[in-house]
């Protein structure tokens, strides 16, 4: 099956046609929600640039997207784990594939709070993947997308970033930075025509949560992806998905400190 085109082929004339239409660029493309996010775009003949660490996974994803109608899929196997590296890689990718119409930054790891607190190495690695790399990617995307004056940068934060809780504040605080960073960048770009969407999912049934029981509170990745696409279409600023989390997090955020600190969740 001739299903992946290497990035260096895209400058060929005969590939120009493939790069027409909506361009979706996904960082952390092997995350559970990213694939569900990409599928409806594939059905509308978008073309894709997918970045993730594992090439085998990228090949399987691109086969799925081609089968569903994607015009073209370029895959880049790259480990997104440093700020400068992610910045330079993103610039290089954009130079070859052009700036995206829609960019999704989806990489992230959850980690075990206790384990992270006792392992500076693991804590640093989590912050590299969840914070440093997305910041580097956003810096590079901003430069190229502002020039074109359109498009969306959608970034995964989390409901966990709304308030640091005893059970997962390491992960939560990494997402708090994303929430603040995307909020500020959105304000900065407001007149440029580029929207920045902050995505705040609750628990979603993906590989990230395989170790947790699949409870009714856990959302299905397809529903979450649909919420994100809807929010992009409507140029929204922040999307809670499923939407009931907006209400729950409003309450959690407004609990008086004296009560909140006694909660063990």
């Amino acid at each position: 099956m001739d299903s992946q085109s290497k990035i260096d082929k895209t400058s060929d004339d005969k590939n120009k046609d493939k790069r027409q239409g909506h361009h979706v660029m996904i960082f952390g493309a092997s995350s559970g929600i990213a694939l569900e996010f990409a599928r409806p775009f594939a059905a509308k003949k978008a073309h894709f640039t997918l970045v993730a660490r594992d090439e085998d996974k990228l090949k399987d994803i691109s086969a799925d997207l081609y089968t569903r109608g994607a015009r073209d899929v370029s895959i880049v196997a790259y480990s997104l784990d440093s700020l400068e590296g992610s910045y330079e890689a993103t610039r290089a990718i954009i130079k070859q594939t052009d700036a995206p119409d829609t960019a999704l930054i989806a990489q992230g790891i959850l980690g075990d709070n206790e384990e992270l607190l006792h392992s500076p190495k693991k804590m640093e690695q989590m912050l590299q993947i969840n914070v440093m790399s997305p910041v580097g990617i956003m810096m590079a995307l901003e430069e190229s997308m502002v020039v074109r004056g359109k498009g969306t940068i959608a970034v995964f934060s989390s409901v966990a970033g709304d308030r640091g809780r005893a059970s997962n504040f390491a992960y939560g605080s990494s997402k708090a930075l994303i929430t603040a960073f995307t909020s500020g960048m959105r304000a900065r770009l407001t007149k440029s025509g580029v929207n920045v969407l902050t995505i705040k999912p609750g628990m979603v049934a993906t590989a990230m949560t395989d170790h947790l029981p699949r409870s009714p509170l856990m959302a299905n990745p397809k529903a979450v992806a649909n919420d994100i696409i809807k929010a992009i279409t409507k140029h929204e600023a922040v999307v809670y998905t499923p939407s009931f989390w907006r209400f729950i997090m409003f309450i959690i955020s407004h609990l008086p400190e004296g009560i909140f600190r006694r909660l063990k969740f």
Binding site: M1, S3, D54, D56, D60, I61, A63, Y66, R68
Partner: protein, 437 residues
């Protein structure tokens, strides 16, 4: 919480793992104990469960691999459900060649059980339409199996109950359709002889045939039922019509109290269902879901039987053993343990490539029973005796009660099949029917 099968039998796995990528199974050595793939858990008995091992949850390994719109060949990962397959294929004018009575099964599960459908007389089993499959063995070998490559393993894997290794992906030949509708006809049959006549007449002109039998009716009404037959309609706008068919779901959120289904309520239901249709024959245009998957509209319908669960009995009576078929229905009617669903269907003579495949030419009967313990197993063993006498067999995907002797006598090829079973793979069913005493 242990994984349950559709009949609410509880598994005893030590651990379970979601398989998201084909590469997740490259190294099986770090899993605890023996392993077994588990799709959407629609098998009724214990063939999808494991004891003291690791259950590999496959339903999220569901990506498409390739589709050729000219030939209708589709390659997909093994966890893709028939529901998702149809959502992709129907708007493009293609349909799955063989479908069971629920669309919530994975392709891997469909292959492992070599599923059949209402068109067995025309197209055989799903195994007749699988052109290739990708099998991961516990020794790290990843094999492409088909009728021309690794043929023996291909035949063993079709209907192989997931025991020959982990099915990662498959390629199947779809059938072209023009319309999102089925031209369906429902015909009242007064008894089994009536059924045989309608069945014979329908064989040539109808892709799909099946009959619902009122298993509570005795005496002069014995064997009465409704014969359902249909063909894919022609014309219309398949894409638009299919979009219109989006069904809604009613789910049974709680277990019904045990007394909901007693002899009186089932009898009332069956009589009402039979009498619902007054005319001798009714022709309608039906959407796919109500025609193929009526029970899927009620999510978790297995819960109406309460927490004790349900047992399903599905057997084949070979074609020349009509008297045994009659006796089977007699025994069921007299037991008073029958159910909403008594289904009778004639299997044709198309042989499956599958070594352990269930269908052979003859009549298949399937019925739901509420699990009432000893009385259920006594009835089942009485039915087993009739089936064995007739030279028939039971369907492992539905079974929880057959004895090792019954299994080994009716599937004599099991010893040959056992040579292809992967040493790391095991199921509660396989242990039960291959261990004596």
């Amino acid at each position: 919480m242990p994984t349950e099968s559709w009949g609410r039998i509880k598994g005893q796995e030590r651990d379970s793992k979601f398989i998201h990528w084909r590469s997740d199974a490259n190294d099986m050595s770090h899993w605890k104990g023996p392993v077994l793939a588990h799709g959407l858990g629609r098998s009724y008995g214990d063939s999808c469960l494991i004891k003291d091992g690791t259950l590999l949850k496959m339903s999220e390994l569901n990506k498409l691999r390739h589709f050729d719109p000219e030939t209708g060949r589709l390659s997909c990962e093994a966890g893709l459900s028939i529901a998702d397959l149809l959502t992709f294929a129907i708007p493009r004018g293609w349909f799955i060649p063989v479908t069971p009575g629920t669309k919530f099964v994975t392709m891997g599960g469909a292959i492992a059980n070599d599923i059949h459908g209402k068109n067995h007389h025309r197209r055989g089993t799903i195994g007749n339409h699988i052109t290739e499959l990708e099998l991961m063995r516990s020794n790290g070998e990843r094999l492409r199996c088909s009728l021309t490559e690794e043929e023996a393993l291909f035949r063993a894997t079709i209907g192989g109950l997931g025991l020959t290794g982990l099915i990662l992906s498959c390629t199947l030949q779809l059938i072209p359709i023009e319309s999102a509708w089925i031209d369906a006809e429902m015909i009242k049959t007064k008894g089994l002889s009536d059924f045989f006549e309608v069945d014979r007449k329908s064989d040539k002109d109808f892709e799909y045939t099946v009959s619902w039998i009122d298993c509570m009716a005795q005496g002069e009404h014995g064997g009465r039922g409704i014969f359902i037959r249909g063909n894919h309609a022609v014309g219309g706008n398949i894409k638009k019509d299919y979009a219109k068919q989006k069904g809604f779901k009613v789910s049974v959120p709680f277990d019904a109290p045990g007394f909901t289904l007693n002899k009186l309520s089932i009898k009332a239901f069956n009589t009402a269902y039979y009498n619902k249709q007054f005319a001798q024959m009714k022709a309608t245009k039906q959407a796919f879901d109500p025609f193929f998957y009526p029970l899927d509209a009620v999510g978790n319908w297995n819960r109406i039987y309460g927490s004790a669960g349900l047992l399903q009995y599905q057997c084949i009576i070979p074609k020349d053993r009509i008297e045994d078929l009659k006796q089977l229905f007699d025994v069921i009617a007299k037991s008073g343990q029958g159910s909403f669903l008594g289904v009778l269907k004639r299997f044709g003579n198309i042989a499956s490539p599958g070594m352990m495949s269930f269908p052979v030419e003859g009549y298949t009967v399937s019925l739901d029973f509420k699990n009432i313990g000893k009385k259920s197993s006594e009835l089942f063993h009485e039915l087993d005796r009739i089936v064995m006498r007739a030279g028939g067999r039971l369907y492992p995907a539905k079974d929880y009660l057959m004895s090792p002797e019954t299994f080994q006598l009716s599937y004599p090829q099991w010893t040959e099949f056992a040579r292809y079973v992967d040493p790391l793979f095991e199921s509660m069913f396989w242990k039960r029917v291959t261990t004596r005493g």
